[in-house]
Point group: C2
Chain length 208, copies 2
Amino acid sequence: MTQSDPVLCAPSRPHAFSPRATEIIAAGRRLLEAEGADALTMRRLGAELGIQAPSIYKHLPGKYAVELALVDEALAEIGLALHQAVRHPGPAGSVASVLAAYREYALAHPNLYRLATGSRLPRGSTTPSLEDWSGEPFFLATGDPQVAQAMFSFAHGMVILELDQRFPDGSDLQRTWDAGADAFVSACRSRSATSAVAPAPGPEAEVH
Amino acid sequence: MTQSDPVLCAPSRPHAFSPRATEIIAAGRRLLEAEGADALTMRRLGAELGIQAPSIYKHLPGKYAVELALVDEALAEIGLALHQAVRHPGPAGSVASVLAAYREYALAHPNLYRLATGSRLPRGSTTPSLEDWSGEPFFLATGDPQVAQAMFSFAHGMVILELDQRFPDGSDLQRTWDAGADAFVSACRSRSATSAVAPAPGPEAEVH
């Protein structure tokens, strides 16, 4: 990956909202990030904005629309962080760089991360092009769709176990992230060695 | 791994319960597996057993005790499945065998799996020796504690994303599991090649 590499898909942007709807979504984000998804109710939103809850419906069709808008925000922010990570990987290489950016985002926004990746919203409710773009850096770092999906699963598993405090006390999680990065770098090398005829685009190139 | 390899830690067993408490826990498992964790209430347990909910407290201190007993059951069952997988890996090798057994268990018992691995129960509430034993096959298959923890995180991430239906439609998840297995096999090889002085016990030996 070099800085001049094009981003393969143009980033999709969340829908445009009216100024008032944007305020409501921002209030929803404050509630969600501070207190978790259960705090995100129309009543709490109304209190936060100093208006009656039913007035919110003039601007957005309900709590579900607020949640979807926040998931789009999260996907856009994760995508931006990961695309930057894969374009400017540093000496550790693009696999490690993407994993570090993913971890940093999720740990900084645990409740937003849970909303965007958990089972609360039905499959297919997010903006597909945005979800694809957000996950694309896993492919750019590995050059293989299956390795990319496996690496994403590792990142999600690590993050959600870390957020849920499911690792034993005293676990050196940085070393575990490093071991995962090593595994997916090894997988890229192994796959490119066995498919030298048609190399996949953009595989991890750095020697770690 | 050969069939005669000793299991490094003896399996811990869940606490002994009275016959009535055992019935209550079994009813709790039926409710949990059929309807999810929210269905596991003292009222529903009473209805399931044909007794008044308060009578349950004569045998168990409450819903929390039922949940803990079910998590112990899940850890024991997962541990058994994984220890069998690592001792009888078949031609694909012990990493792939452990991952396949983990996936099979979780997909067969989604609600029990979620209860045992999610954030519902506080960290440290499960039986530590049982949790250690249950996870030990990841170490036996990789020979490295960090690679083992990374491989477990991958397995959990894959399973929970699969249960939550978060993968895009048309994803070939078996190939993604295979790619993850390849990555952790490669990581084992890479680590054992760089630590030839003191090889870790029980690393993945099969050529895939």
